[in-house]
Amino acid sequence: MKTQRLAAASVAALGLLLATGCTTDTPADTPDEETTAAESGDEWFVQADYDEQLAQRDIEPEGDPNTPWLQAIEPEWIDTTEYAKEGGDATLCFSNASVSNPWRVTGWITMQQQVEVLQESGQIGEFRVSDAGDDDDQQISDIQAFIDAGDCDSIIISPSTTATLTPAVEAACASGVPVVVFDRGVNTDCAVTFIHPIGGYAFGADAAEFLVDNLEPGSTVLALRILPGVDVLENRWAAAEQIFGDSELEILGNEFTGGDAAEIKNIVSQYLERGEVDGIWMDAGDGAVAAIEAFEDAGQPYPVMTGEDELSFMRKWEETGMTALAPVYSNFQWRTPVIAATMILAGEQVPSEWVLPQDPITEAELGDYLERNADMPSLHYAKFGGEDLPGFPDAWRDR
């Protein structure tokens, strides 16, 4: 057993050396209680979570639909009077995992704009930020630095990975200030609130159900995925596998592309050389346009396709009139943590787990969202939720 673990650890270390830049939990970290619970062959599938997320899609969230970043699905409101702080001008400290992809960049701009509003109203004084550049160790020391500084009134954390960052988040909680975690989760509920959209299963299921509904039985579907081993992405595929498994669609393959447009175009072109592809399922919209162009260049009819609410895909969708859906991993969630922190410091109630709505963009809403985002660059996310902030549209346009 011991030698086995040693071997696993050295394989993991070697893998880390080889996989330059890809940040995931090291395999040696993964066998914790949560993942071993799902022994049924697929370590990324937890039936209870899957059922919960699929059900949450149909629950009407509490709050005003015009401000979805303040809505919550089945919230369990908790008292925060113990954290109430007089006088405003709070110092917020934000440990960010990275801004290494357009989705995070878009959200990060939105968060900064929201902070400006709260600074003007006097609720936030200083907003201190550290960016870990997708490095777990860096983020652990970033969080420790906030704790050591001792003058953060609240610590906001967007964890880089789940298991590795758990002790750091626990340490932040132990320092006594209210902690807000958002986007990816950690294995502790010590944070005052954990903010996230419904989740990866819902995303993958939205996309897969759309393909099942819009393709004839027996049609072929190619799945394009970014990279293996990242929980939010693996959950999307795990959900799709469930739904495809119960359908009569033929899944030609699931390919990792790294989100690289050239790689996506190569792979799709090669599948098209071998036969018809009727549908494309993607676990994230990066490079979706390259996949569509592969059909154009091969002289094939457009597939039924699911991408994401990234504008380059949505614009191409409108231009071609293809049958498509844009599943959403709600980018507006980046507004919520700073608002939540000011609520907590004002002693207002917040949901202990703040589940934000996550509705895909359908063909009926396509025109509306494109119009709203007309000035935005192509690698921008339609549901960024910052249209009412004073910096709009310049802050997002001139990034």
């Binding site: 992809n101 293996p228 050239a262 072109s269 990066d286 091969a298 380059s312 660059p377």
Partner: protein, 337 residues
Amino acid sequence: MTRFRDLIAKAANPTGTVFILLALILVGVFAMNPGFFEGPSLMAFLKQAAPLVILAAGQYFVIVSGNFDLSVGALVGAQVVIAARLIDGEESRTLPVILAMIAFGVAVGLVNGLITTVLKVQSFITTLGMLLVLYGAIRLWTGGAPTGSLSEAFRQAGRFGIEDVPVLGQVPWALLIMIGLGAGAIALMRSRFGRVLMASGDNERAAALSGARVDAARTAAFVLSGLSATVAGILIGGYAGVSAQVGDGLEFTVITAVVLGGVVLGGGRGTVLAAMAGALTIEALFTLFNQMALPATLRPTVQGAILIAAVAYAARQRARPAPAPATPTATATATPS
């Protein structure tokens, strides 16, 4: 009969290994999917392989002169992002921006070359530094996500070609550019410059003592590599458009390709044709993996094993005293000037 013996001798030649490997992989692809060798799909393969082949030629110049260029992947990415931002969908800006990209590629190569030769910083460090500088600068400049878009004219070279050619379908511009530049690279290696470059990698002191301008040749090699990355950037950007990940990890793929072509790290041995064939081999291997539906997680492992096996095989051939002059290029000497 003698032709057959020639063939055997060629196969035993270390730089010949790559051609055998390429043939084997293509046989494998054919077995999986005979349709691969039909005109249109073959053309599509070559179109998509062209950028790596051109990059391999550029990297060959640097490696054969005894250096590395790790900055090419970042440079390709930078060029595509710069192009998208500066063109921003305006057709009329295509040509000026392409000229600016060429100037930028030359400048990056020149800086790499001068830091390596004048300041005597090892090229591994110089170009690793350049990789990081470019990577960071582009992210700083774009705020992490590329903006703008490429013009239709810009995308011509990488995406389109001469249409409606009998049998072949579309003859991609990328293929013609690849053949043109490949021929240029071969001609360059046969010129005086090529011999100086080879001698610099083989034995720097001897080359310098015999009057060759080693530093100038090495710097020029970096400039050629920067230019190849620029052309590759134009083709890749044209082929698939802008994404934040363009060029990621390309430096390792291209060094793998060159090494697979039997070019010795440290310099002085190998031919540019074999380096380019190495790139084709890598691309064919990716195609084969795809045809076999090999799990993505297994691919790097298989790729690594094939690389080690091929280079070990070539090294064994080289170590054994060859009956015929094994590598004519290896015996090249610098001509005194």
